[in-house]
Amino acid sequence: ECPGTGSAQAGRAAACQGCPNQGLCAAGAAGPDAAEAAELRERLRAVRHTVLVLSGKGGVGKSTFSAALAHGLAADEDKQVALLDIDICGPSIPKMMGLEGEQVHQSGSGWSPVYVEENLGVMSVGFLLSSPDDAVIWRGPKKNGLIKQFLRDVDWGELDYLIVDTPPGTSDEHLSVVQYLSATHIDGAVIVTTPQEVSLQDVRKEINFCHKVKLPIIGVVENMSGFVCPKCKNESQIFPPTTGGAEKMCQSLNVSLLGKVPLDPQIGKSCDRGQSFLSEAPESPATLSYKNIIQRIQEYCEQHHCQEEKMI
């Protein structure tokens, strides 16, 4: 019985003898060794809540949502928030946060995140490229190395929230970030989808990934959920939920539906211009949806924290 390619026993269990992938699984390594885990734990000691933003599918709005979540949480000036972009091939966060062209600085205490507000810091491979069109054509192991560096070498300081934006899929980046963050703790994952079945079929895989690696699921966000024409006010389903959308999927898989966000052309524009959509379009129905979802995420994290404290 295969122990699972992501398990600590991968490549090492008795059942692995003779499997053609044994060498690969064993070389994949189970995660940080004890010394590395201690380093990561130390660096992330002052992070109260960590939220991963995932999808199985590309282009559903993970980075858009991560940016809105970061801005939404940082609206409370007493909270320290950081946004870590581990999409190494397609880092969207620098542009969305209006930080294109910024560079990362080193200090005695490590890499300094780039601050968009006093209480909102950002880190992305985008800041390490000499030109925004430079392709990062790296195989898995090199990507894993950079993700480890981001977690170990960035001087995050004291944080109320660390939001981690991920690329689409269930591969190196996702395995690595979950394994490295196991040194500290992850409150949970927010999974983003759009209403159509082609997205949902990938998102179900992502939900299974979360179960496999024992990552709690805070809930699912359905993006691009309907469009209200600004002229005639008629509502259209641009991506029809032919199989019941996220709502039906959440019911059948017993996960929370955090909310639905309608399509609003202003969202794309704000992202392109590096502005906070929540500030640029405070009256949009999408803003209201985002804010409700963000509040539910906050409530989940606070509740989770209280439960943990009770257990100590």
Partner: protein
């Protein structure tokens, strides 16, 4: 005795790429294949998106299985005249919701197999649909396909 390569009968190989996810690579790959088929061509689609294989559902063959023959794997045929053939990891999953949680090296091994071990037969076009990014799948697919008739890449984007 040199075995005839499984790609020897393929006239043109086309990659469909983007950097970005969700722009319509799989949709375009499918529509391109259907358009070529309607114009009388024999077309194959190789879906190397291992984490999010979309093509089987788009061609309504998600419930089919893959079989072996002497020259390797037999692709899944679409349509009564078998004018479109398809290979995807989607056909190898026990359950459609199973996540393929593989690191790069394991993905590379399967992609090489998909390129060399699928008995495509004679095709006018082989369209290779890719996942978003510029990583393992893309490097491995290009490396494995380069010795063959690699026509080039079509890049897909959206306006923003």
């Amino acid at each position: 005795l040199l075995e005839r390569s499984n790609l020897a009968g393929v006239q043109h190989i086309l990659l469909v790429l983007s950097g970005k996810g969700g722009v319509g690579k799989s949709t375009i790959s499918t529509e391109l294949a259907l358009a070529l088929w309607h114009s009388g061509k024999k077309v194959g689609i190789l879906d190397v998106d291992l984490c999010g294989p979309s093509i089987p559902r788009m061609l309504r063959v998600q419930d089919r299985a893959v079989h072996q023959c002497d020259s390797g794997w037999v692709p899944v045929f679409v349509g009564q005249d078998k004018g479109i053939s398809l290979m995807s990891i989607g056909f190898l999953l026990e359950r459609p919701d199973d996540a393929v949680v593989w690191r790069g090296p394991k993905k590379n091994a399967l992609i090489k197999q998909f390129v060399t071990d699928v008995a495509w037969g004679d095709l006018d076009f082989l369209i290779v649909d890719t996942p978003p990014g510029t990583s393992d799948e893309h490097i491995s697919a290009v490396e494995a396909l380069r010795p063959h008739r690699l026509l080039g890449a079509v890049l897909v984007t959206t306006p923003q």
